[in-house]
Symmetry: C2
Subunit: 369 residues, 2 copies
Amino acid sequence: MRKTKTPIDCAATDSAAQDKAPIARADRRVTSYDVAMLAGVSQSAVSRCFKPGASVSKATYARVMKAAAGLDYIPNAAARSLITRRSNMVAVVISQLANLYYPEALAELSQQIARRGKRVLLFTMQNESDVDAILADIWQYQVDGAIVAAALTPAQIGEFERRRLPLVVFNRNLRGTSVSSVLCDQYDAGRLLASKLAGAGHRRFGIIAGPADSPVATERRNGAVDRLHELGLPAPSIASGQFDYASGAHGLRQIIAALGDVPDAVICGNDVMAIGCLDCARHELGIDVPGRMSVAGFDAVEPSNWLSYNLTTLRQPIHNMALAAADLLTSMIEAQELHGCAGEKRLFAPQFVEGATARLAALPASLAA
Amino acid sequence: MRKTKTPIDCAATDSAAQDKAPIARADRRVTSYDVAMLAGVSQSAVSRCFKPGASVSKATYARVMKAAAGLDYIPNAAARSLITRRSNMVAVVISQLANLYYPEALAELSQQIARRGKRVLLFTMQNESDVDAILADIWQYQVDGAIVAAALTPAQIGEFERRRLPLVVFNRNLRGTSVSSVLCDQYDAGRLLASKLAGAGHRRFGIIAGPADSPVATERRNGAVDRLHELGLPAPSIASGQFDYASGAHGLRQIIAALGDVPDAVICGNDVMAIGCLDCARHELGIDVPGRMSVAGFDAVEPSNWLSYNLTTLRQPIHNMALAAADLLTSMIEAQELHGCAGEKRLFAPQFVEGATARLAALPASLAA
DNA sequence: TTGTACGCGTTATCAA
DNA sequence: TTGATAACGCGTACAA
């Protein structure tokens, strides 16, 4: 028999359910021992009742559950995870919650992870340089795995491997590594957009790229640049900035200044930048879009679909991507004992959204002059 | 001496730091015992070294830290929280991550909570009816407190009190209860917007309210309705819908149908609805805004500020609200042992954003006919 | 300042 | 099916 302090006052159970007493007197919590005592069984019996698929007789199960309900007993997840080595928590690391794209992704991820019986421990950061501090926290909290939507150095990835912590990288392509990841091919996306626009006869391009430290931004830009080069078109005029509205406008002004003229088409690092560019063109500079200039972005965030914009863009299938990330991570967690996790990459194709901010048909010969 | 299994192979420390061995052989984790053994001290000495402000000599501290670094030891948060009764996790419950307003709030909250040395355990839901399932999870995970941005029933709030779990309600006014909360006075906001518009001479109002099960939506609508009534204006035509773009457009068509004419001004449940309403008016119905009709919303989300909209709206000071929520919760957590938490309400005033979608000056007499 | 011994609340093992 | 008992990894009185 375990030496326990004074047991929880069981009279609480007898009082009307309407107006329950506080859960625990003083500082004691309700434990499985209290339930066991009230139900007249052993503590391990109580434990078994809360483990799905354990062998308990119907009779004891009923008595235990009744006692548990009376005391408002709920198993302590910390104690459980200590011995099972499963916290049922998944770390989600996201760099730019302020961006419009990530909330949609986070909402999906959260739903999917919850559906799999796990919880999300959320880590956000202003600068991607805060990653190290966040990783230290992740180790402490004994999460079962992590989904990271931020840049990771090889050393950081190595840490995950040494700790045998399942990791899925979201929307960052870490070429050469064997990390599991879910992503849209951003380089390909850049190429695709360039092809579509070039196919309509645009020749003088501007590119307003996202921040240099973002791999997504870099790949989109490179894809577009390379494709334009392949097609024998003149090198585009390139500006860059943050993934935000102001950068879109600023970038457009820069490009026009550099070119000494309005470009035929502008490819922007994401939708918010494209919207900034579009608004600047229409409302500040009086440029007809798509009549005089075409504008396109990436992501198909919700506002891109609003009537005032109806943006030409590339949709990332975030719903499916979130689903894949959750699936990949859970399967890695399940399989962990069996074998090391084979770095699987799930690549999604971006979907072209025609919109109305880009001229996509070649001009008739009479106008093409 | 504790009967332990074979201790961690300490040879790992000797190998080059460049190419570290896996953290743990087989299935053992690195524990404070391993560090103690390597450093030649007791386990409790190790424990003290990781507790800020404990009494340890410089010499042992140095040796312990060296050993810890060599083994990549990190304290186990689950074990710690088991004994300290502090998990350093805060539950954040959010209903509509898809809405534009909440990501901004969540990003702020997350930053503020992290700054206070705690982590966010995130719970999201599609329907506010999922709250009960989420609460059950919250009890399990031994969080130190919760910030809830969703409707709670009195019974649910009672549960928090019985469990003595610090709770801050975000942006939901639970009148009559003594729950700590951080909020913007939505009723007042509704009144303010009505006053401003009425002051400019608008007489025939439309209101496109948010969903009936949202207290925020209801209060905004009631505030506007009451104020218009006080001013002796005709009762507004009211439509309602979800807090989304489509509902804004749909609501406007409903109001015009009901009125048989275009209203002077439309007050929308939030900015996204207002933007939907605005786009419908301008692009589908060809209504001049603000020339013929004024449109206003609530929240001042980022897109409301874009040039295509420049919406007249009321800003909620989310930065300060998030800060207040984090402060309130942490002070409740600190004070928990001392006394029961006095339900404090922090009320923030909405700030009027003039924008350009509402005519705010009275018409000259010549035109007022 | 340091070490010993115990407890936090649970699951896992094994014998009955 | 059930119960006794040993972990899980840590913090903390208490004694030295």
